[in-house]
Structure formats: structure tokens, C-alpha cells
């Protein structure tokens, strides 16, 4: 814990500012592309980096250990329950997420370490930047329910109609 210094709290707090905005129900045809991609959730400075990871189903997430200490990655979430066991620095273990849902990831050695992995069956989701701005591209025209999510708290779905060439704006306020 001593290695963390004062930096972690700051990062801790800023990590939690990131939110995910996504379409509750995706348009037909959006599920077709089933190609295996890789994402990375690093373990660095006794933190999962990034704190929030949004992926599509079928993605394999690698959990490398970039610290010089042992770490463990486990989840009791219904979407994906796994326990990678404890492993030393420099090693990485993969987990494939096949079901959509929210997976909360913990380290059983370091009780303050936790992260969210949001698994979607479609590609229409976006992580906000530090200022809370987001952008979801290439949505087929239609009316969709949009949800904003932050640290396990989801907003009420909002109906947004997307046109062929228009850019819609929708602001969410959580907490």
C-alpha cells in the first residue's frame, strides 16, 4: 500500500468519473460481426486500468500484471463468474466474455481494487471522456432507448430518434 503514495486517491476519484452511455436495444443486423477481438485490463499501481472497460460479446480481455507484486482477478457477477487465481508480475491471463452484462472485477489480495467490465451484444456504446462527453457513431436511423451508466448506477432509459444524417444530443445527469 505504501507504494501508492498520494497519487492513487486522485486517480481513484477520476476513475470513477468515467461513465458509459449505450443503446439499450440495438438495431437488427448489428449482431452479425462476430469477430474475436482483444481488450486489455491492466493491473498497475494496485489499480485496474482502465477502471471501466466496455466491450462487445466474444471479446477476450487480457489481465496482465504490470506490478511487481502478486495480484488476483475474480468476479462473482452473474454475467461472468471467474477466478484467475493469484499470479506474479509480468504474467497475463485472458478471459473471454460471451454474455452481455456488467461484470464487476476484484482482486482478492487488495480489497480496494475493483473495476467494471460492461459487455454489450452490439457496438453502440461509448465511454465518456474526463469532462463527461460521449459520442456514439454509425447508429442506423431509428428510435432507440439510451441509458447512461456510472459506477453501477444506470439512468432511466431515454427515447432518442436517430435520423440519416443528423447528430442528436442527449445530456444525462447521474447522482
Amino acid at each position: 500500500m505504501g507504494d501508492l503514495g498520494g497519487a492513487t486517491p486522485v486517480l481513484d476519484v477520476s476513475d470513477r468519473l468515467k461513465s458509459v452511455v449505450y443503446l439499450e436495444s440495438a438495431p437488427r443486423g448489428a449482431f452479425e460481426t462476430v469477430e474475436t477481438t482483444h481488450a486489455v485490463m491492466d493491473q498497475r499501481g494496485e489499480r485496474f486500468v482502465p477502471h471501466v472497460l466496455a466491450i462487445t460479446t466474444g471479446t477476450i480481455v487480457d489481465f496482465p500484471n504490470s506490478d511487481h507484486i502478486y495480484h488476483n482477478v475474480f468476479s462473482l457477477s452473474k454475467t461472468k463468474t471467474f477466478d484467475l487465481g493469484r499470479y506474479a508480475a509480468g504474467r497475463s491471463k485472458p478471459v473471454r466474455f460471451d454474455r452481455p452484462g456488467i461484470v464487476r472485477v476484484f482482486c482478492d489480495i487488495h480489497s480496494h481494487m475493483n473495476a467494471f467490465i460492461l459487455v454489450f451484444s452490439h457496438p453502440f456504446f461509448s465511454l465518456t471522456d474526463a469532462d463527461g462527453r460521449y459520442r456514439i457513431d454509425n447508429i442506423p436511423p431509428g428510435t432507440y432507448n439510451v441509458v447512461a451508466w456510472n459506477e453501477g448506477v444506470a439512468s432511466e432509459p431515454r427515447s432518442v430518434t436517430v435520423t440519416e444524417s443528423g447528430i442528436e444530443e442527449e445530456d444525462f445527469t447521474l447522482r
Binding site: 486517491p9 481513484d12 475474480f74 462473482l76 452473474k78 476484484f106 482482486c107 482478492d108 487488495h110 480489497s111
Partner: protein, 577 residues
């Protein structure tokens, strides 16, 4: 009172009383000290027990708090709490061994919904979920709460389950509680030796006492400070200690039986009493011994004194031995002084009798000088007359008569002296006292002219047993004296009276003559003491010898110018001395 009248008794009594008093005072003082000390120690013990109970509860609470924090920080628990109730319930099984004495474990999620419970008090757990403790924990505050249960008071620690180190995110709450029940009370009793009860809202919920004591104990919940309660005939000191901050909240009652304290006090008292009794007995024996050592020499001295008094033997001495008896200096001094005293008395007696003899001899010389020389001179004169040549017959007869008379007189004097010097031999027989008196009066009147004698005789005094001859001699002597005394006085007469009394007879010879000079009165019974010419000074001494020899007494009273009275008391039956 006989105890107080002797020196030994007083010394003994004083020493014994002193011993009893000392023992009594010591007993009283020690008893008071012991009783007070016992009460103080009881108070100390009960306060100490209160502190122990508090500390024990505090340390257990701390243990629970720390353990709850550790459990709350478990990553798997955190992971579980963010899922669902069955997952948490499954997780809870792992924590049982961590808090094996826990009567309650309760997990809620971030909204305060019950996720899992464990322990005996599961029902209470659901109740707890609505309590402020959980709300406090959801606000990030650890809270200790006390909940009344049918079988005791549930002491619960509620801690938040948090994520992150700063601005922690609260995932849920964890409550861990233990019951202040009969079992815990029994444990406390084992540690402290005091009875313990827990109560709240006027009800006793757990106790080491019998359930019958509950009403009495319940009445003490709202009191403060040590008070006394009687439970099942036993006396107890009761100290209430509030468990929470609120005055009306749950209370632990510490009870300490006075029986133990009383028992120890009684044991000390019994010991003291035995010691006191032994001490008093020893002191009594010792005082008795001391009193005896003081008075034993006194008894020895008294014995010798008594001996001296009865025998008149002044040569008797108190022998001062070397034994323990004479170790006492005062007794030695007393004995030595007594010995010196008897020596002195013996010496004085010897000197007195020597003087007496010389005095008697002197008086005898005077008597002989006067009483013998005078007749001798008369005889000499008569003989001279007889030698005359031309002696007439009448003159010769006269001279012969004179010589004869004087010789008789000399003879009488010699007889009297001899009579007085010789011890008297009495010839006791029945006699008529009144007749004796009449004869004596006649005889004394026949001796010469003078006052008449008035007889006043009590017929009841007639019959006596005495030596009639000697008694007559004594009476005549006294009557002659009395008649001499009234010679030449106008109212001269002599009275002779007899009177019968219970224990004897009284003879009184009274005259109204010149009386006797007080200076002479003391000597009238001394032999050869006389104030008369021609007297031998033996009349009254002889009379006194005879009366005393017959077992009687003789006393004389006289007033110069008024007269003299001699009183003789005789027993009815005289026995020779």
C-alpha cells in the same frame, strides 16, 4: 459484698475487671474496624467488578468492531455484496469461525436491504435492519447499539462495507453482535466472583441469580450508586452500571453477597471472642494468683496474731522463711514490724509488772510502818506499865487487855496479807443470797457504831450457788467501807440491794457519803492502797478477787460529795475459776 471486704477479693476483682474491660474494649475496637474494613472492601470489590465488567464488555466490543472491519474489508465479501443475497449468504459461512461467539451477523446492501444473516438471533437481525445503526453505517459511521432480546441484551457493532480508500463508496453494512445473556453473566461471575444481571426498561433479561430475584433487581435498574437489596433472605450490595450513554438505557447490575463478608467478619469475631475468653480466664487466674501471693503472708501473720491473742504468749514470732511466701517486701515489713511490736509489748509488760511489784512493796512497807508499828508501840507501852512496881490490878488488866487486843489486830493484819497473797480456794455450794446479805449487814454493824444499813432485797435473787463464806467476807468489807464513808455526814445511811436478772443477780451497795476523789477512784482496787489510818488497803482488792473468782464483775462509781455506788454482778451458778 464479701468479695469486696477483703484485700484479696478487691485485688482479684480489680484485676479481673481490668482484664475484662481491656478485652472488651479491644474486642469492640477490633470488631468495629473489621466490620468497617469488610464494608469498605465490599464496596471496593463491587466497584472493581463494575470496572472489570465494563472493560470486558468494551474489549469484546472492540474485538467485534475490529473483526467486523476485517470481514467488511474482505474483497470476496465486497464482490458478493454487489451481487445478490444467496451469494452473500454463501459467503457468510466463511466468517462464522472468525466470530465464533457471535450471536448475530447481518449483512445489508447499500440500500439497507438484508442480504444475509447468521447466528441465533436471526429474527433480531431483520429487526436490526430498520435500526438507526444500519442507517448510520450506510452514512459511513460505525455504531454500537444495544437491543433488548427475550434472553438478554444484544450488543451490536455495525460497520460499513466500503470500497476505495478515499471518498469510500459504501457497498453495504455488516453488523456483528453478541448477547449479554445468562451465559455471559455466568462467565463474568466466574471471573469476578460477583453475580451479574442485565436489564433494560424495568425488565431483567439475563441474570446469574434465580429468576425470583428479578422484581427486586428490576427495581434497581434506574438507581445509581451502591445500594443494599435482600434477595431470598440473603443481603446483597447492588451496583448498577449503565451500558450505553443513555441514562434510561440498558444496565448491568453487579451484585455481591454480603454473606461472604459477614462470614469472614463472623469468623474473625468468633476468633476474637475465643481469644477474649481465654485472655479473661488467664487474667482471672493470674489476678487470683497475685491476690493470693499478697494475702498469703497476711494470713500467716494473722494466724500468729490470733495465737498471741488467745495464748497471750508474746514470745510467738512470725518466722520469715526463704520461701516464695515472703518474697513480697510489704509482707516482710509487716511481719518484721509485728515481731518488733510483740517484743516491745513483752518488754513493756515486764517493766510494768516490775514497777507494780515495787509499788506494792512500797505500799506494804507503809502499811507495816503504820499498822504494825502502832500496835507494837501500844504493846511496848503496856509492857512498860506492867513493869511498874506498884501496879494496880485494874491497870494491869487494862495493859493485858491492850496487849491482847493489839496482838489480835496484828494477827488480823498478817492474816489479811496472807489471804491476799495466797490463791483463793473456793468452796461452792447452794446458798441464800438474801440471807447472806442480812448476815453481812449485821456483821458489819456489829463491828462498830455508825450508820444503819437499809436492806432492799429481791426475793427472786435468793437462790444461788456460790461460796457463801467468801462472798460474805467481800460484802462485809464493802459494807464496812461504806459505813466508814458516811461517818460524820448527816444523811448517812447505806443501802444494800439485790436484784434478779435474766443472766444472774446484781448486788448494789450505795452510800451517800463523801464520795471518792477521782484521782483515787482508779486505785481503789489496787492492793495496799488506802487513804484511811488503820486500813491495810486490802479490803476492796480482796473483795474484787473473790467476786471475779466467782465469775462475777465488780464496778465502782462515785461522785465526790454525793456518794458512792458499788455494783456486783454474779452468775446464778458460780464455777470456781
Amino acid at each position: 459484698m464479701t468479695l469486696l471486704s477483703s484485700l484479696r477479693g478487691r485485688i482479684f476483682l480489680a484485676s479481673a475487671l481490668l482484664a475484662v474491660l481491656t478485652c472488651g474494649v479491644a474486642l469492640f475496637v477490633v470488631n468495629r474496624r473489621v466490620t468497617n474494613e469488610g464494608e469498605r472492601s465490599l464496596q471496593r470489590e463491587i466497584l472493581a467488578t463494575g470496572v472489570i465488567v465494563d472493560q470486558l464488555r468494551t474489549s469484546r466490543t472492540e474485538t467485534y468492531t475490529i473483526t467486523a472491519r476485517i470481514i467488511a474489508d474482505s474483497p470476496t465479501l465486497k464482490a458478493a455484496v454487489t451481487t445478490d443475497a444467496p451469494t452473500v449468504q454463501n459467503e457468510v459461512r466463511k466468517y462464522g469461525p472468525l466470530l465464533n461467539s457471535a450471536n448475530l451477523l447481518l449483512f445489508t446492501d447499500a440500500r439497507g436491504n438484508v442480504m444475509a444473516t447468521s447466528g441465533d438471533a436471526s429474527a433480531a437481525a431483520r429487526l436490526l435492519a430498520g435500526q438507526p445503526a444500519v442507517k448510520n453505517a450506510l452514512a459511513g459511521k460505525e455504531t454500537v447499539s444495544l437491543l433488548p432480546q427475550p434472553n438478554g441484551i444484544l450488543q451490536v457493532v455495525t460497520v460499513p462495507i466500503t470500497l476505495f480508500l478515499t471518498q469510500p463508496q459504501i457497498l453495504g453494512t455488516l453488523s456483528a453482535g453478541f448477547l449479554l445473556n445468562d451465559t455471559l453473566a455466568a462467565q463474568l461471575k466466574e471471573i469476578t466472583g460477583s453475580d451479574v444481571a442485565f436489564g433494560m426498561d424495568g425488565r431483567i433479561l439475563a441474570t446469574t441469580m434465580s429468576r425470583e430475584a428479578d422484581p427486586v433487581l428490576a427495581s434497581r435498574l434506574a438507581t445509581s450508586g451502591v445500594s443494599t437489596a435482600t434477595i431470598a433472605g440473603g443481603e446483597y450490595a447492588v451496583l448498577p452500571r449503565p451500558l450505553g450513554a443513555a441514562a434510561s438505557g440498558p444496565v448491568a447490575l453487579i451484585l455481591r453477597s454480603r454473606a461472604e463478608q459477614l462470614q469472614s467478619v463472623r469468623a474473625i469475631q468468633a476468633g476474637l471472642a475465643v481469644t477474649a475468653v481465654v485472655a479473661v480466664l488467664l487474667a482471672t487466674l493470674l489476678s487470683f494468683a497475685v491476690a493470693r501471693t499478697i494475702t498469703r503472708p497476711l494470713a500467716a501473720i494473722t494466724d500468729v496474731m490470733r495465737e498471741v491473742a488467745t495464748t497471750g504468749d508474746l514470745t510467738q514470732k512470725i518466722t520469715l522463711g526463704e520461701g516464695r511466701l515472703w518474697r513480697d517486701e510489704d509482707a516482710q515489713l509487716l511481719a518484721a514490724t509485728f515481731n518488733t511490736l510483740t517484743d516491745s509489748v513483752a518488754r513493756f509488760q515486764r517493766e510494768m509488772s516490775q514497777k507494780e511489784r515495787l509499788l506494792s512493796l512500797g505500799r506494804l512497807s507503809t502499811v507495816i510502818a503504820h499498822e504494825v508499828r502502832n500496835p507494837l508501840m501500844i504493846i511496848k507501852g503496856s509492857l512498860h506499865a506492867l513493869r511498874q512496881k506498884n501496879l494496880q490490878e485494874t491497870a494491869m488488866h487494862e495493859a493485858v487487855h491492850d496487849i491482847n487486843e493489839e496482838v489480835e489486830r496484828l494477827n488480823r493484819i498478817v492474816n489479811e496479807v496472807l489471804d491476799f497473797a495466797r490463791p483463793i480456794r473456793f468452796d461452792i455450794g447452794p446458798a441464800d443470797l438474801n440471807a447472806l446479805c442480812r448476815e453481812s449487814a449485821a456483821a458489819s454493824q456489829a463491828a462498830g457504831p455508825g450508820a444503819p444499813i437499809d436492806l432492799e432485797l429481791d426475793p427472786a435473787a435468793s437462790s444461788v450457788t456460790t461460796d457463801a463464806e467468801r462472798l460474805r467476807l467481800a460484802l462485809v468489807n464493802m459494807l464496812v467501807n461504806a459505813r466508814h464513808a458516811v461517818n460524820g455526814t448527816p444523811s448517812g445511811d447505806v443501802a444494800l440491794k439485790t436484784r434478779a436478772r435474766q443472766e444472774g443477780v446484781t448486788i448494789i451497795i450505795a452510800d451517800k457519803g463523801a464520795g471518792i476523789d477521782p484521782a483515787h477512784l482508779a486505785h481503789v482496787f489496787d492492793p495496799y492502797f488506802t487513804t484511811k489510818r488503820g486500813g491495810t488497803g486490802l479490803g476492796l482488792p480482796i473483795a474484787k478477787n473473790i467476786i471475779e473468782g466467782l465469775g462475777g464483775t465488780i464496778t465502782i462509781g462515785s461522785t465526790p460529795g454525793a456518794g458512792t455506788e458499788i455494783r456486783v454482778d454474779l452468775p446464778y451458778n458460780s464455777t470456781p475459776a
